[in-house]
Amino acid sequence: MGLRKVAVVGAGMTQFVRRAQETPKELAFKATRAALDSCELSIQDIDAICLGTAPDTFDGIHMNGEYLSDGVGALGKPYIRSYVGGGTGVFVPIQGWYHVASGLFDLVLVVAEEKMSSYYPHPQGAFLTIFDHTTERPLKPNLLWIFALEMNRYMATYGISKEDIAQVSVLHKRNAADHPAALLGDKKITVQDVLNSEVLAWPVQRLDVSPVSDGAVAIVLAAEHVARRITDKPIWIEGVGWSLDTAYWTNRDLAYPRYVEVAAKMAYEMAGIKEPRKEIHIAEPYDPFDYKALHHLEGLQLADRGKAIELYLNGSAKRDGNLPICPSGGLLGVGNPIAAAGLMKIAELFWQLRGEADGRQIPGSPQKGIAQAWGDLMQVGTVVIMGK
């Protein structure tokens, strides 16, 4: 296709917290500074900047991309903000990738930021206005109960129990206990804790859901010839994919995320991966809810339909298993500042593949990883495959 190779050469992030003192701009600055420092670059070295942040309503500033621009060093540089809802955190590195792959820029900074705590009394309120104003909004829908409907459909289609699904939350939150930036890591959490947590919208209970969070993440992308000057451990972006399902959630298969399948197949083809279950060594599927990780693993073709839960039940999903899943701790454990959470997964693959994940490190020198996010009107799949 005439595309250049693109590497991730640096990454940094802020702590994910429930309510940050920093402004959104200050959070974005701190992640940016950390990413530049990690590869010893200054902002003058950067050719262009891609920023991802979810709805303006969270940060409470209309035209939030423009507001954040000085915090990420965009002054006088080509700059663009992307927003595909929850999918943003894995879309913005794709946008950064084509900035470099196209030959237009050699060094691109990619930043994702979210400060959900500004929206008051609860950020779910931001979602009251994403639904159809006549057919749905009179019922005051929010994402919790929309996904309760989807979870119930998924459980019923394949006969999966809540006890089994709770294993996802347990593994991710336990993994997060080893992540220094995590909000909800808990080494001691059990399935019983999840099943005993308060019911929000049945079958969704408190510990089935990721927490509202504030945070920012940044990575640095480089063209091959520049990457080799910056580091002897570049991590390549080998495949990218993204796809939209129908805008109307009632028109899609609630038990299977076709939008993830299409995006994943695009990424696998680009990466030359024919047998993902053998060739992918780490998976960071999007896990705002525990059942969603299972849903997405199936869309990513890493498990048969209705069978992803077996990866958790047979131990494959653990860090020392055959297919470690969310070794970071995921959204369920590290936290879910929307756009930043997706880019955190990309940063995790970067650290894991370089062998720099400290207490979270997967044994055996993993070669390839996949990260995925999901968003827009619950219809977009965004996928990135990375390798050494």
Partner: protein
């Protein structure tokens, strides 16, 4: 025909609401800036030693070189009018009883957009020196309106 016949000459409509309420943190820089405004009646900036630039209000980073800024400095409460406008109408289209003067006042390498008062609108000049007039300490709340307005020196 379209199924919704309506007796009036307009489309059938549906009332909706787009509710957005926020609770902002001041942030690291602004909290320091507004505490100083409220408690000491001073305007704080931060200086970038690499770019020799004095940001007012102070920020925790330099937008040019992206260094972290730690050198907080009180700036003079007197600045110069960089530009101004005179407001004659309200948002609802009614005329104001008194025109209001709004100016950008240069302080350090930054400045504040604020009100000008104690001067006839016809006498305002670009480049004139103006000083901040603070509310009395007990009335200040950590708000940009703790400065009531700027007035000619």
């Amino acid at each position: 025909m379209y199924p919704f016949h309506h007796p009036f000459d307009r489309p059938v409509h549906y009332e909706g609401l787009f509710p957005v309420t926020n609770r902002y943190t001041y942030g690291i820089a602004s909290e320091k800036f507004f505490r100083a405004l409220k408690e000491e009646g001073i305007i704080l900036g931060t200086h970038c030693p690499h770019c020799d630039k004095l940001y007012v209000p102070g920020t925790i980073f330099c937008e040019t070189c992206l260094s972290e800024l730690e050198d907080w400095r009180a700036v003079d409460n007197v600045g110069r009018v960089d530009t101004f406008t005179v407001l004659y109408k309200n948002l609802d289209g009614t005329y104001r009883t008194e025109p209001e003067i709004v100016a950008f006042i240069r302080l350090g390498d930054g400045g504040l957009v604020h009100r000008l008062a104690e001067i006839d609108p016809k006498s305002v000049l670009i480049g004139m020196q103006v000083a901040a007039v603070f509310k009395p300490p007990e009335e200040r709340t950590g708000n940009i309106l703790d400065i009531r307005y700027f007035k000619p020196v």
